[in-house]
Amino acid sequence: MVATFEPKSEYKVIGTRPIRHDGLDKVTGRAVYGADIKLPSMIWGAVLRSPHAHARILSIDTSAAEAMDGVHAVVTNADLPQAENEMVDLGEGATNLKWAVDNILASDKALYAGHAVAAVAAADRYTAEEAARAIKVDYEVLRSATNVDDTIADDMPAILEEFVDSPGAQESGHANHVKEFTHEFGDPDAAIAGADHVVEGEFNLQMVHQGYIEPHNATAVWDENDRLKVWTSTQGAFTVRQQIAAVLKIDESRVRVTPLEIGGGFGGKIPIYLEPVAAVLSRKAGNVPVKLVMERRSVFEGTGPAAGGKINLKLGATKDGQLVAADSTLRMEAGGYPGSLVGASGMCIYACYNIPNMRIVGYDVLVNKPKVAAYRAPGSPQVAFAIETLIDDLCEQAGFDKWQFRRDNAAKEGTRRGDGPIFPRIGMEEVLDAAKETDHFNADLGEPAPGNVRGRGFASGYWFNVGLQSSVNLSLNNDGTVELVEGSTDIGGTRASIAMQAAETLGITAEDVNPTVVDTDTVGFTAVTGGSRVTYATGYAAYNAAIEMIDKLKVRASMLWSIDADDVQFEDGVFSSKSDPELSIGFKDLAGKLGDTGGPVTSTGSVDLEAAGGAYGTHICDVEIDPETGKTDVVRYTIVQDAGRAIHPSYVEGQMQGGVAQGIGWALNEEYYMSDDGVMSNSSYLDYRMPTSLDLPSIETVIVEVPNPVHPYGVRGVGEVPIVPPVPTVGNAIKDAIGIRLRETPMNAGRIVSALGS
């Protein structure tokens, strides 16, 4: 029972649901994903990984592997250009080059179980894997820590010695605990002291993985001009090019990256892992193509994940229901190298509300787990768990209505975000209002099975979205169809959403535009498919390119009619003369006359956009719990979200439903379950159990449209915010069902049984 979305606009293409352009290839098995590529003379690689969570690498003996039949090359960190502690910008802010290189292949230390240490290229995959196992590494095992409390214990050694003397570590008192920022506004201490109602809580979250079904892969070869050619599954061909060039210390222009179809990413396919390994193996094997495909266990142990951590939050409100103060300390796990994305957590934690006195203190916490990567609104679901849980607690303590309290304190245009920016037009109030109007919000809970209990919860969430740079090229065919070339890899239907914006602008159909995702040689710079930016920013570039094409075609029409170009107008797909109503020609007819008016028409569009205004959602969830087993079933779920403008509503709904599914997994079941010696114990899909079709209800969607004022079609970006509210939404429903508050994820059967038992 999904609400039917009715487009509220006069658009002809936007708001409709055409079949996606790449759909046919993807339902027939023809689409070429990263692992599907096969090149002449290609050989296979395999990677050896550390079995220890924290260990000094004393020596690596590759001789047995090198002696095996069919082995072409063996590489270690020594085969990569040696990196110093220098700061470089790899597309997501400054980072230490040595750490970037060491995460590809460890040099002096392995910082997590699963850290790549050496690699082999051989005639086939099976031989390569066997040869990798024949490499002998001598380790000195060090004390490891895989959670916040253990890693800042006095006798825990520094995971990265570079931090021992850093200002952030000196302020916190431990090298594994690096202070990143304090945001403060008003007087939070005085406001809490003077508040009528104060609540506080500590929230603990385990790391989770993005869980994309396609493992990481990379194929690389040095060509006859000593240029490096790479084929890979990535969210951003240009960021891969940038990272490879930095790690290999070559010019970016000497690298060509071809993004093949990508089988999910959710932020986890922005960093590089295998690409430089494939490159140095290719070099050492005599410049033949080398392909690497990660096994699933390594995907869990060596890539992703999203930060776990510990969040302390305190809220204060007046007796008449004004939220007056908030104070939080965020300790987010970064993995073995810095980068927990705690900065984004700080931007999001208070963003749903107007809070006049506030403080946020953020720490990056090093632990012996894989280096954190972005995961769909990175950093926001964790802090949403804290604040949306505590707001429910506050309302219960003070006797406030949970919806009315949120509505009275909702952020709106002019509200100051916790880290400083003032909001432009946003849709938080509209989303809350729409949630209250849903059938679900007002429906009975229904009867649970005998012995079971039911509960309902709701919660809101925010993601800032990004803009950044995109490029699009258009060329007009003589039948009036248009080729659209773009640099944004299509991870969930964006060929369609970009082509539709071009089509709307040109007055033709979605099917008349043929979108193609190309390599880094063939289109202008385009930032990653991430930050919910592609339909917003690349769509804007497509709009600009289409406007340029119309301007050029106005000139062509004026040449046909021997009138001034300024006299030509374009409306509803037709060029006409403003002064002579007899003169008019359709877009397609004019396209057939390019040969008479000067030849081909091409156009380009490129943008560099500021942040996109931000997206909000409110979710409602009903759970049914068996108190004896602790098993929780999500029996009904509704997501309400501001899309700005839904270009292709089916894929907007798909983003919403998919984000919810991941969030429900995060809430109820998913976690990095670490053994005492720091090894992930559940690194398979059997044990890291993601939701299946049987675990979820049909997720109901309500699209709200508060158009983004800085986009020609009002797009806000929709991909990430749907994963933000589910953890507290499910948690609030569990509290409603069993009367007990859980403040640790996952809220699994074991935690529910022990909460009920105590």
Binding site: L24, V27, G29, D124, S650, A661, S698
Partner: protein, 164 residues
């Protein structure tokens, strides 16, 4: 005490039918059906997700039964018949499931789609009118991380109605 290991043949001779076409090849005895299809036969529509039978991305039909091809050896298909996603469309056009997946937007990244299509065909071939719970139960062996399954279930329901 030493164990005497007798080396087996380095390649096994296989004659099989794949998507209705006769195939004959030599395959290493340890090679999975998944790798056999992808590396020897050249059909890359069947995808690798986990290699331990827990994601369903490599689902194929073996003599009419759906299997995870990563858990079957290539040598085991001798004398048998295999159907993959590449065999679903005919000269008359797409299979109703393929058409319904397109119309219902039942895929986002698409990596799990071949496995879901083959698995769903396995259901509809034997049970033409399954209810929603039966569809969700049948497809629980196929993981999708993008869609939340709603649109996949709807597409199977739509195809089932089309085929009735």
């Amino acid at each position: 005490m030493t164990t005497q290991i007798t080396p087996g043949p380095s390649r096994v001779h296989v004659r099989t039918t794949i998507n209705g076409q006769a195939h004959e090849f030599l395959v290493p005895p340890y090679m999975s059906l998944l790798d056999t299809l992808r590396e020897i036969v050249g059909l890359t529509g069947t995808k690798e997700g986990c290699l331990d039978g827990n994601c369903g991305a490599c689902t194929v039909s073996l003599d009419g039964r759906i299997v995870d091809s990563c858990l079957v050896l290539g040598a085991e298909i001798n004398g048998k018949s295999v159907e993959t996603v590449e065999g679903m469309a005919t000269a008359d056009g797409l299979h109703p499931l393929q058409q319904a997946f397109l119309e219902e937007a039942a895929l986002q990244c698409g990596i799990c789609t071949p496995g879901f299509l083959v698995a769903a065909k396995g259901l509809l071939d034997n049970e033409p009118a399954p209810d929603e719970h039966r569809i969700r139960h049948w497809l629980a062996g196929n993981l999708c991380r993008c869609t939340g399954y709603d649109k996949i279930v709807r597409a199977v329901q739509k195809a089932s109605a089309e085929m009735a």
